[in-house]
Structure formats: structure tokens, C-alpha cells
Symmetry: C2
Subunit: 370 residues, 2 copies
């Protein structure tokens, strides 16, 4: 009994996990984190209207969700001034990236991203046999011109850029991104991940042109809308590309509860306004705590603050570890030179207090451990 035969591609894939969850760490240390500030979740929660809609939908989840996501796509189309045919809804941006990469990328196909950008995108590209070409950041920013030049050089099928960026929190103005869209090489597609766009300054997102076949915009209810655990992402693109998702997507993959929650969240625009204010206040407070401890916060257009610890990756990794041991879950950029930084998600006043209490000792312990 030799068991099943994998495809040659899958047989060679590493059992790589893009992110270890905080629950795994909690189980390992036998205690819950006091502050959960590592996954850029929103401790302010979903809109109360969304919570109410999801709680009410629980008893009707004996029904499958609408496989067309009709009502949600209608509402999203109205919000963005496009047609329903320009929108696909999926199981978070991660789920949509999987489908998108599958549609475009086969063994050996070239894909361009930044060295240190979103690892889950790379996980999908590698998972379908694509060849990743990584371009360095320009300081703390992704480098649109370099990404486009590399894409032209290698005839990339996909170009990934997040604006605002994760893990650095940096961002480009709309005109820079529009210039990038306008120079996408023929036959390439720009995957513009705008997961954090609701938290960015006005003027960060270029206008949406649903007739433009060169770009797909990825959005989510996981960040500003505080519904990471409900799993609702969507993409906006040319209708031909959107229709193609029907070839590969899990048609009945969306939770009926999540559909109800997302629809209710869209009907509560005040919530995002409140969240933006809380995020801004939290970033100011985390920046104060960082500076008080001799660390340097970087500008951020997201719901997290990336903080330069002033030395190499060993120190930052030690700080992440020592904060974890003191009940504070944070993460950090994986790739040098960004691994000189730690990344702390915005939180509540209790989170700030826990962080402020733990950081001095964690820093001392981290430095002593090197």
C-alpha cells in the first residue's frame, strides 16, 4: 500500500505555513495573551449592526449562503460606483489570491513582488509552481517603478503591491499608483492589495476604473471593518476577469452569517469613521510608548505601527519573544533590513497599558539575551 500519488509539484512543496497563529503560541505557553496585537486585527470589533446581523443569522445557517453573493455585491457595487459584474466576493483576500494565482500562474511562470511583502501571496505563487522575482523596497516603501521594470524584464503574469503596505505601514499617493497602473506591461496584471485602504489618508487610492484590464483591487472586511474571523474579502476588476473566478472558485464557499454581517457593516459607515479615529489615537499612543523606550515609530497609513528598534533582526526577534512571554502578542517583518523593526497592531486602552507595562522589561531582557 504505497498510498496516494501527488502531482510532481505538490510532492516537492514544503509544508510551509505562512503564519503561526497566536492560539498556537498560547497553547505552547499554557496561557492566553493579555494583549493580542500581532495580526492587525481590529480590537474595536465589527460594527454593532454587523454583530447583530451575524447573531441573528446564526439560527438560519442551516441554509447555504447565496452562491452569487448577490446582495453583498450589489451593495459593494453601489459603494464603489461600479457594476455587480465587476465584483467577486471570496473567503478573505487570501482565498481570492489563491483563485487568482491559480488562474494565471503555472509552473515556471514569472511573478513579481517586493522582498518582504505579503508571504501568503508568495505561498500561493509557489503552490502553483510560479517563479517569484523579488524587488527590494526603496527604504520603507515598496518601489512601484522597480516592480514594473522587473515585470517587463521577466514578462511577469502578476505584479503584487500592497497600498498601504504591510508589514511596513508605508503608502504611496494615488498618483503614484495610477502611474504604476498606466505602465503595467502588456499581458501583466497588477494585484493591488488595498486591505488597509479605509485607514489611509484621503488620496491614497486611485479612482477605480472597472474597464481597465491591467489591475485588480483587493479589499477586505478583516481590517477596518473588524471582521477578520468572518472571512469576507472582495475584488474589483474588469468584468471578464471577475467572470473567470466562476471557473475556479468554491461557489458555496461563503458563510451565510458572514454575508449577513458584511451587508450590515456596509450600512453603518459611521463605524469606520469611529474606527479611524480610534486607530489614529492608538497609533499616537503606541508611538509615545515606543519613543519613551528609545524606539522609533515609522509613519503608518494602516491599523498598525511598525517600529524601528535600531539594530538587526536578532534584537527585534528577541523583543517579539520577550513581549510574548509577558503576554503581549506582536509580530515583525521577516526580511532584512525590515527585520530591524517590530509591528504592533492598534488596540484598546487596556492593550496600551499592558504594552507600556511590559515593554521596558522586555527590551532589557531582549538586549541581555544577545
Amino acid at each position: 500500500m504505497r498510498g496516494p500519488r501527488y502531482t510532481p509539484l505538490v510532492a516537492e512543496l514544503p509544508s510551509l505555513v505562512p503564519f503561526v497563529g497566536p492560539e498556537t503560541q498560547e497553547r505552547a505557553k499554557g496561557a492566553a495573551f493579555a494583549a493580542r496585537l500581532g495580526a492587525n486585527e481590529s480590537g474595536y470589533g465589527p460594527s454593532p449592526l454587523a454583530v447583530k446581523a451575524m447573531a441573528e443569522a446564526a439560527s438560519s445557517c442551516w441554509m447555504y449562503g447565496d452562491p452569487e453573493n448577490f446582495d453583498l455585491r450589489e451593495a459593494l457595487a453601489a459603494k464603489h460606483g461600479v457594476s455587480r459584474s465587476n465584483i467577486v466576493v471570496g473567503e478573505g483576500i487570501d482565498g481570492l489570491l489563491n483563485y487568482l494565482v491559480r488562474m494565471m500562474v503555472g509552473p515556471g511562470d514569472a511573478v513579481v513582488t517586493s522582498d518582504g511583502a505579503y508571504p501568503t501571496f508568495n505561498f500561493h505563487v509557489t503552490g502553483f509552481g510560479g517563479q517569484l522575482h523579488k524587488v527590494p523596497y526603496d527604504g520603507n516603501h515598496e518601489d512601484p517603478a522597480a516592480l514594473i521594470a522587473k515585470a517587463a524584464e521577466v514578462s511577469a503574469k502578476l505584479i503584487y503591491l500592497a497600498n498601504p503596505d504591510n508589514p511596513m505601514g508605508s503608502w504611496h499617493e494615488a498618483a503614484v499608483i495610477q502611474q504604476m497602473i498606466d505602465t503595467v506591461p502588456d499581458g501583466s496584471l497588477l494585484v493591488l492589495d488595498e486591505a488597509y485602504i479605509e485607514l489611509a489618508p484621503e488620496g491614497t487610492a486611485p479612482a477605480i476604473d472597472p474597464a481597465d484590464p491591467r489591475v485588480i483591487r483587493m479589499r477586505t472586511f478583516s481590517k477596518g471593518q473588524g471582521m477578520a474571523g468572518a472571512r469576507v474579502g472582495y475584488a474589483i476588476a474588469h468584468e471578464d476577469l471577475i467572470r473567470s473566478f466562476d471557473k475556479v472558485r468554491n461557489h458555496f464557499g461563503m458563510s451565510r452569517i458572514a454575508q449577513a454581517g458584511a451587508l450590515a457593516a456596509l450600512a453603518d459607515p459611521d463605524w469606520i469613521t469611529q474606527v479611524r479615529a480610534k486607530v489614529d489615537a492608538s497609533k499616537a499612543e503606541i508611538a509615545r510608548i515606543a519613543q519613551q523606550n528609545g524606539l522609533t515609530p515609522l509613519p503608518s497609513a494602516t491599523n498598525f505601527l511598525t517600529i524601528d528598534c535600531g539594530a538587526g533582526g536578532d534584537l527585534a526577534r528577541a523583543i517579539v519573544r520577550e513581549l510574548g512571554q509577558r503576554g503581549i502578542f506582536i509580530r515583525m517583518p521577516f526580511v532584512a533590513p525590515h527585520d530591524r523593526c517590530i509591528r504592533i497592531s492598534c488596540g484598546t486602552e487596556a492593550d496600551h497599558a499592558a504594552l507600556e507595562a511590559a515593554l521596558p522589561e522586555a527590551l532589557s531582557a531582549a538586549r541581555a539575551s544577545l
Copy 2:
């Protein structure tokens, strides 16, 4: 601007949708169905404990779900007498079938199923370029020996069988399935879809042997547990195969609300006992209504009744249409000779009353339309 370049495989795929949802039909006719009896959902709903857990989890869905599904897998392992390493949790059986097919099937690879079996499995196989070899049913039953013989003949990577079967409702005893497992050709994997197993007679499921690399068992919370819209499926298999899912799955794909609901459902075994009794009573009532109208119900080990209408597919399709126009959503097998049948899911007393009221007129209209 020529737009993105698809893989040759995806470029050729049809934009085929395995199932049109009832909501699509409701939008088309401008009215909701009075009885929703077409998707083998459970109108008895989830366990009240599961509903409560999901309603409570709504406010904490700002957190991603545990990517390891640790607690749920622990509970499932205990229930089935296996180890956590033998269980993978995913976005319904549909989601898990996608991952499984992706791991095994590349362009031209042989896959064996029954002609008329679950279309979504075929959707995934075709979507990864596999070559489907379809074996006829033996009457109203899938034919294990013929499936195994065909798999040996074509060197199939996967063999699909549902026990109990959808769309026919038929089933095999455990010994027949164990014999099938014991004769799986070297290098093949039996995908044993047991979505309806909780509703089948004792002795339908062979014992689970987690060391056997020849079979993967697919289970779900969508049918007996009444949580179709929450999207929780799982598979039980050899730990090497289970670990391989980590290479391709959407690690953060599970809803935190669904995780909480499934865990609570497992803590309420009485609910399934009650549902089984309701399903049995409903099947008896639907059978009575069918017979009263001169139609022949087939034996069923599921939460639906497949009913022989005694003529060809044209009559059955007309009955489905005419019932739909009278507010009753049902479906039917797609493939001859099974398309002589209609398929009605179990429901509530109100559903039975609506069906009984509509069926005579729908039958007359259907016959008159031919």
C-alpha cells in the same frame, strides 16, 4: 491593453457553475420559495447550543480563527477514536475536495467516479485538468466493484464514491465499502464522501483505520448538523495525507464563528438523535405524499427522498419547474436514467403541507406541458 494571461488550462475551462442557488431562482421570479427542499439542507436547524455559540462568537469575530483548528480537531479526534493528526478541517467538503484534487490531479491524470455522482467533485477534477472516467450506476446504487475495476484499468489517482449516495439516496453496507477499500489499486486513493452518514442506518460506515493510506473519509456539519451556511467540513485520513493539506490550504480560511458553532454542536449529541427521528418522519410523510400522487419513492439513507416519476427526464424537469413556480424548491438528478427522478429534501410540517398542496397541480401542469 490585452489584459491578463490565463494558464492554458484555465483559458479553456467553461464558466460552469455546479449548482444554481435557490436565491437566484427567487430573484428571477420575484418571490421567495414557500418551501426550500432542494439543497438537502436541514430545516430543523443547528443544535440550539451551536446557535448560541455562534451568536456569542459574532462579537469576537474581529479575531481570525485559529488556523490549526486545534480545539475542533481535538473534539473530532475524540469522537472518531483517532488522533488530531488524522483530521483536517476545511471550508465544507467542497473546499476540501478542491484541495485534495489539487494535490493529486494534474493535466491528463485519471479520476474515476460514477456517471451522475456529485458534480462539484467533477468541477474540481476538470478544473485541474484531470480526465474523468465515469462508471454507470448499478440500478440506483453506485457500483463499487466497477469503480475499482475502472480505476485499475486507467490507473486512477482518485476514486470518488458517496455512501450514502447523493442524488439517489441509496447506500451500501459497511462490509461492501470495506471490501472496496481493500481492493483500491496501488497508487489510488478512495475519496469516501460520507456527508450523510449520520442519517444512515447503523452499519453503513466501515470502521475508521487512520493508518490506511488508501482512503480519505469526508464528513460535514452541513447535513445532519444543520450548519450548511457555516461552512465546516472535515476529512479523516492517514497523517501523511492530512499533513499535506498544509501545503495548499487557506490556513486562515475558517470562520471563527463556524469553529465555535461546530465545537458546540459536537457537545450536543442528543440533537443528532432528534434530527434523525425528524428526518425519518419527514421521509415517511414525503413518501406518502408521493405515493398519493402515483409516484414511487426510493429507499433513502439520507435527509432527502429521491422519487421515481415513472417517465423520462422531460417529465421530471417539468415537475421541478412547476413545483418551483408554486413556491416549492426541489432539485433532481442530472443524468439519465436517474433523471426520471426528483429529489426532495426533508422538511418541517409546514414544508410537507406546502408540498402536498402544490404537487397535484404541478404534476398535472408538468404532464400537460410535454
